[in-house]
């Protein structure tokens, strides 16, 4: 256990080192230096840069003249809200489809689901998002085109999570604002969740099939345990472990996807902010955004590692 924690910490250090070197290089691209360095040597400047970062000074965006860290924190909740919602969608639907397919193995339902998931997996989401907008927003008018909420709801940003903020405005708008915000989330979330959903469905299916072949499932069957119980209690728990391990990959897929999704749906989150910064060559924001997003990815991976240690007793308590 201690060994694995040490290993994690080592990885973390290397990751942060590599990352800060990258963002340091990024920050050096700026025409106007984003931090007032004392030294001329790039090597020492790097350490000064780290010092600045630790002190919470991530620079001032060259265009909007705002603090990068503050800007990031302002945009971040929108992204998180989208990601969390999409992830919930992807995980629940993906798991359900995967389980369904694995129990109907080889049947038409299985084949249909797996073909669909391959289609979803191959979907260029920038196109997919546009198709969805074209169909549901512009042609059918079922969903809004962009934004997080209709403007007739004047929502004071307390948490900047629109779903929460709308609930805090409950006495003003009732649930209308909340539902409206949810309505705005649907299309972006569907777009973003498509690929992870497909991956999760496929993974669940194959992992579940592998587990269902294992000897301990045979043991469970010999005890006369019902099929449902075998799947939910005995198989799924073990089948989820490989799925959890690829969640690290998922988060990077999601992070890439969220940039595109925000761009398509004018979602005022980090991705759009970052793209804007790139197109305006606002290096202070670029380095800050890349740094912050990566730290989140790293943190997520770390949490994931601990989670899989927790879920897998073999890793938790080595014999």
């Amino acid at each position: 256990m201690i060994a694995s924690i040490l290993k994690q910490l080592g990885t973390l250090l290397i990751s942060l080192l590599g990352l800060t070197v990258l963002t340091f290089i990024l920050s050096q691209q700026s025409d106007t230096p984003i931090h007032p360095y004392q030294s001329d040597s790039a090597f020492i400047q790097y350490f000064e840069y780290i010092q600045f970062l630790i002190n919470g000074d991530w620079g001032i965006s060259s265009i909007h003249k705002r603090s990068v860290l503050k800007d990031f924190l302002q945009h971040f909740p929108a992204t998180i809200e989208l990601i969390v919602f999409a992830m919930i969608l992807a995980v629940t639907t993906g798991l359900a489809l995967g389980i369904l397919a694995s129990t109907r193995r080889g049947g038409w339902l299985d084949n249909t689901l797996m073909t669909t998931s391959l289609v979803g997996y191959s979907m260029p989401i920038f196109w997919w998002g546009m198709l969805l907008v074209l169909l549901f927003s512009l042609t059918l008018g079922w969903t809004p085109v962009a934004g997080r909420i209709s403007f007739e709801y004047d929502i004071q940003p307390f948490t900047r999570f629109m779903l929460i903020d709308t609930l805090l405005h409950h006495n003003k708008y009732g649930f209308d604002a909340f539902l409206n915000a949810l309505h705005h989330l649907i299309l972006p979330a569907v777009t973003l969740s498509t690929i992870p959903m497909a991956i999760i469905a496929r993974m669940t299916r194959s992992s579940l099939l592998a587990v269902l072949k294992s000897e301990y499932i045979r043991t469970a069957r010999s005890k006369g345990i019902s099929k449902q119980r075998i799947i939910w209690v005995h198989a799924l728990r073990n089948a989820l472990q490989p799925i959890l391990t690829i969640s690290g990959v998922q988060i990077s897929i999601i992070m890439s996807g969220v940039i595109i999704t925000e761009y398509i749906f004018a979602w005022p989150g980090i991705g759009k902010w970052l793209l804007e910064a790139v197109s305006r060559r606002d290096f202070a924001s670029i380095q800050g955004g890349v740094l912050a997003l990566s730290i989140i990815v790293i943190a997520f991976n770390l949490v994931l590692d601990f989670l899989s240690i927790y879920l897998n007793p073999r890793l938790r308590r080595p014999s």
């Binding site: 072949k213 301990y216 010999s222 006369g224 728990r237 073990n238």
Partner: protein, 325 residues
């Protein structure tokens, strides 16, 4: 009174390379409290036969039987659900690899408790007590501690005991043990076998022991089935069958292993069958042993039937009876 009677049990596997007849017209009968053995080389269909009896075949398998009587019920006339219920109430099975037969992410206690709940129910407290009692019965003294542990924290021998405890929780009339000791160390092997025999006596639980080892069979069983290529080639009372095999294959099996304690001159060649075990998707015509058999002649291209000879069943055109007169 027969506990289990199976006649002409066949199991086929549907594979990409065609149909594999893993078990071919097997005939088995076990009485309550009896200990029987099945021996045969790897791939001869022992495990598949056991799984077929325990109703645990994978969906790729199709199973047929002319007669399948368990505890007085005719299973061939039952719906799948009823059959499964009856089987799981009467037959328990333990496998070669105890550690992989237990769910790695659930505690021993949970798995045991679940089994008890499904079979006898009871309150949580009652089930816990029952579990502790079972663990004690299979010789696990620190049951309280083990209850909370995961399979990977236990040694193979302990896991096998847990498997047995779980099997006992179902209070089966027949316990099938599929090579229960092969994966274990020599010293542990005998402990497990002792335990199984003890349980057989105490609970009057019939035992079907699948193994490679003649010495185990000779010590424990009343009756032995010898399998080759999915078929039972010889069966009969253990002592007689071992001391005087009728089937050339049984004889080869017995003679090809130098047994410790039988004094050989160093360098003496062992008796062996030429060639190797045929794979089930390319079985020879007629007698499956034919191409390897030193006694074979032209007649062996015809499929031999299971014959009854002096209280034994043999599937051979030229049983080795003449030798013993």
């Amino acid at each position: 009174m027969g506990l289990l009677q199976v006649e002409n049990l066949s199991v086929d596997f549907q594979t990409d390379n065609g149909i594999i007849p893993a078990v071919d017209r097997a005939k088995i009968s076990i009485n309550a409290g009896q200990v029987q053995g099945v021996i045969g080389e790897s791939g001869s269909g022992k495990s598949v036969m056991a799984l077929a009896i325990a109703g645990l075949l994978s969906p790729a398998a199709t199973m047929r039987a002319d007669l399948f009587n368990l505890d007085g019920h005719d299973l061939t006339r039952m719906s799948a659900g009823e059959r499964q219920k009856l089987i799981s109430n009467n037959i328990s099975i333990i496998f070669q690899e105890p550690t992989s037969s237990l769910n790695p992410s659930l505690t021993i206690g949970y798995q045991l408790d679940e089994t008890i709940r499904f079979h006898s129910g009871g309150t949580r407290k009652q089930r816990y007590d029952k579990a502790q009692e079972l663990l004690l019965q299979v010789g696990i003294i620190d049951g309280k501690r083990r209850y909370k542990e995961y399979p990977h924290q236990l040694s193979g021998g302990l896991n096998q005991r847990v498997m047995i405890a779980m099997a006992l929780a179902c209070e089966p009339k027949l316990l099938i043990a599929d090579e229960p000791t092969t994966a274990l160390d020599v010293t542990v092997q005998s402990q497990i076998l002792d335990l199984l025999l003890k349980l057989n006596e105490e609970h009057n639980m019939a035992l079907m022991l699948i193994t490679h080892d003649f010495s185990i069979l000779s010590e424990t069983t009343d009756k032995v089935y010898v399998m080759y290529g999915g078929q039972i080639v010889e069966s009969g009372r253990t002592y007689k069958l071992l001391s005087q095999p009728y089937h050339p294959y049984t004889k080869a099996l017995l003679n090809s292993v130098p047994h410790y304690g039988m004094h050989y001159r160093k360098g003496r060649r062992l008796f062996n069958l030429k060639g190797s075990t045929p794979s089930l998707d390319h079985l020879p015509v007629g007698c499956y042993l034919g191409p390897r058999c030193p006694y074979a002649n032209r007649k062996c291209v015809q499929t031999p039937e299971l014959r009854t000879l002096k209280g034994r069943k043999v599937r051979c055109h030229f049983p080795l009876i003449e030798d013993d007169s």
